[in-house]
Each structure stands twice: as structure tokens, then as C-alpha cells.
């Protein structure tokens, strides 16, 4: 298995590139998912506030 990942004297350069690439792509997707959740939470808050206003009137 280790042989499969062995890049000789270039191991750090190759895997250093691919690891950072992967980390950034995953981070982008995670942050995007988190932003989506935050927006939906804000929307439901707005909706609750609006329905509260309607109940008062």
C-alpha cells in the first residue's frame, strides 16, 4: 500500500499539492453548506417574527 503512495524524492511536493487542493475544496463545500444553513435559520426567524406581528394585529 505504501508503495502506491510513494513518489520517491517528490513525495512532499506531489502529496503536499494534492492535500492542500483537497482541503480547500472540502472547506469550500463545508462553508457553503454552513452558509446555506445560516440563511435558512435567518429566514425561519423572519417568518416567526412576521407571524408574531400578524398575531398581534
Amino acid at each position: 500500500m505504501a508503495e502506491l503512495f510513494d513518489m520517491g524524492k517528490h513525495t512532499w511536493f506531489v502529496w503536499g499539492s494534492y492535500a492542500v487542493f483537497f482541503i480547500f475544496i472540502v472547506a469550500e463545500l463545508v462553508l457553503l453548506g454552513r452558509r446555506r444553513r445560516t440563511i435558512w435559520q435567518r429566514l425561519s426567524r423572519i417568518k416567526r417574527m412576521n407571524s408574531g406581528d400578524n398575531n398581534e394585529t
Partner: protein, 245 residues
């Protein structure tokens, strides 16, 4: 079949369409990336000159291409937004910026890690590398300016102008290796010729298509967030949040 495309310029119409389109780009992007990575990392033999380090180009070149293409797309949507005062266009420009910045950074990072074993240095102030770094700063400038202005219309206009001005840097990046004497080599692949082995070029092409599809999918996902955020007080968004429950 007659499709009214202008209908989709409205955020309310585009939001569900974007949602339907995402899997059509995301799924092939994942499949192609997996194929490209397996072939590029484990199946193709080492390069006779560069050894194993050449495998970095399978992510470096698509990242560099995407960083330029996304900036041009951003400038395009910014112009459309400014000319027709279309909200969706400025949202598209805003949604493209983070992905473009990420690809730009990754092009620089992977380029540095490829440069050390190949050129003997991580960084050199040659025209290609410097203009690519300027592109990263243009992305940062665009996002910072957009975030700094509270009014969305003013933010879109100011950052849009920056996107258009910065777009002039893209052809300079592309032609820098021809115009100046740079350490960075010229293009190995052009629309008319390829100096790479066919197997290597095909893996790079697979990875490039995967990067394109990924960028489109992520941008569509982000533009949906932009739409919801900016239209949060619109009646159709209120209905949507009711349906979501």
C-alpha cells in the same frame, strides 16, 4: 420549442432552475475527478524528465485555467449587471468570486510545489507568476469591496467595476510567457497542438472538465444562497421557507 430565457433573469425563476441543474454538474464532476485522480496518480508512469513531480500538473493546470476563466465570467456578469441593472447578474458575479480565488490560490500553491523540484525554487518574480499573484489580489479586492458596502446595488456596481478593470490582467497572464522572457514555460496545450503525451494530455483534459463542472455546480449552489439572502423579504422566499418546513 420556444424558451423564454429572459424569464430566468428573475431570481425567483432562476432559484428552482439552479437547484435542478446542480446534480447535473456535480455528479459528472465527481466521477471525472475520481477517474482523473486514479489515472493521474496511480496508473500513468512517471515522466522521463520530471519523474513523479509532473503529476502536480493534473491539478495545477486546471486550477490556473479556472482562475482565469472564472475571473472573465465574473467580469462578464458584472458588465451585464451594470448595463441592464439585473440583480441576478451581480449575484452571479459575487457567487463566482470565492471559487475563482480558491483556484487562483491553488494554482500558485501547486505551481510553487512543482517549481521547487523542477526549477530549483518555489517562487520567482517572473511575469507569469507575478500576474497570477495580481489576479489573486484582484479576487481579494473584489470580495473585500463587495463586503465593505452595505447597499447591495452600490456594492455590485463598485465591485463590478473592479472586476471589469481586473479582467485586463487575464490576457496579460495568458500571453506573459510569449511577451516576456519567463522561467515559466509556454503553453504545452493549445487548441491546435499538444506537446504532451496523449495519455497525460487526456488526464489533464479530464481533470479540467471536472474543474469546470465543479465550478458551475458550486457557483449555482452559492448563487442560490445569494438569492435567498438578498431576497429574504420577498413573498416568494417566505412561501419557500413555509414549504421547506
Amino acid at each position: 420549442m420556444n424558451i423564454n430565457w429572459f424569464k430566468y433573469a428573475s431570481p425567483a425563476s432562476f432559484y428552482p432552475l439552479a437547484g435542478k441543474m446542480i446534480p447535473w454538474f456535480a455528479v459528472p464532476a465527481v466521477i471525472l475527478a475520481v477517474i482523473g485522480l486514479i489515472m493521474g496518480l496511480f496508473i500513468l508512469p512517471p515522466d522521463f524528465k520530471q519523474g513523479e513531480s509532473y503529476r502536480i500538473i493534473f491539478i495545477h493546470v486546471p486550477a490556473a485555467w479556472m482562475s482565469m476563466v472564472i475571473y472573465l465570467a465574473m467580469a462578464f456578469w458584472a458588465i451585464i449587471g451594470m448595463v441592464w441593472n439585473s440583480r441576478l447578474s451581480s449575484m452571479m458575479a459575487t457567487a463566482l468570486a470565492p471559487t475563482g480565488a480558491i483556484f487562483c490560490f491553488l494554482a500558485l500553491w501547486t505551481g510553487a510545489l512543482w517549481g521547487k523540484p523542477t526549477w530549483g525554487t518555489y517562487w520567482v518574480w517572473d511575469a507569469r507568476l507575478t500576474t497570477q499573484l495580481i489576479l489573486l489580489f484582484m479576487y481579494f479586492g473584489y470580495m473585500a469591496l463587495h463586503a465593505a458596502i452595505e447597499d447591495p446595488r452600490r456594492a455590485a456596481r463598485a465591485s463590478g467595476l473592479l472586476a471589469v478593470v481586473g479582467a485586463f490582467n487575464v490576457p496579460i497572464i495568458y500571453f506573459s510567457v510569449q511577451w516576456w522572457n519567463t522561467l515559466h514555460q509556454g503553453a504545452s496545450i493549445t487548441p491546435t497542438k499538444s506537446e504532451m503525451a496523449a495519455s497525460m494530455a487526456s488526464v489533464m483534459l479530464i481533470m479540467a472538465i471536472a474543474a469546470w463542472l465543479y465550478s458551475i455546480a458550486v457557483t449555482l449552489k452559492r448563487v442560490r444562497c445569494e438569492i435567498l439572502d438578498r431576497e429574504r423579504h420577498a413573498a416568494w422566499v417566505a412561501e419557500l421557507s413555509t414549504e421547506a418546513k
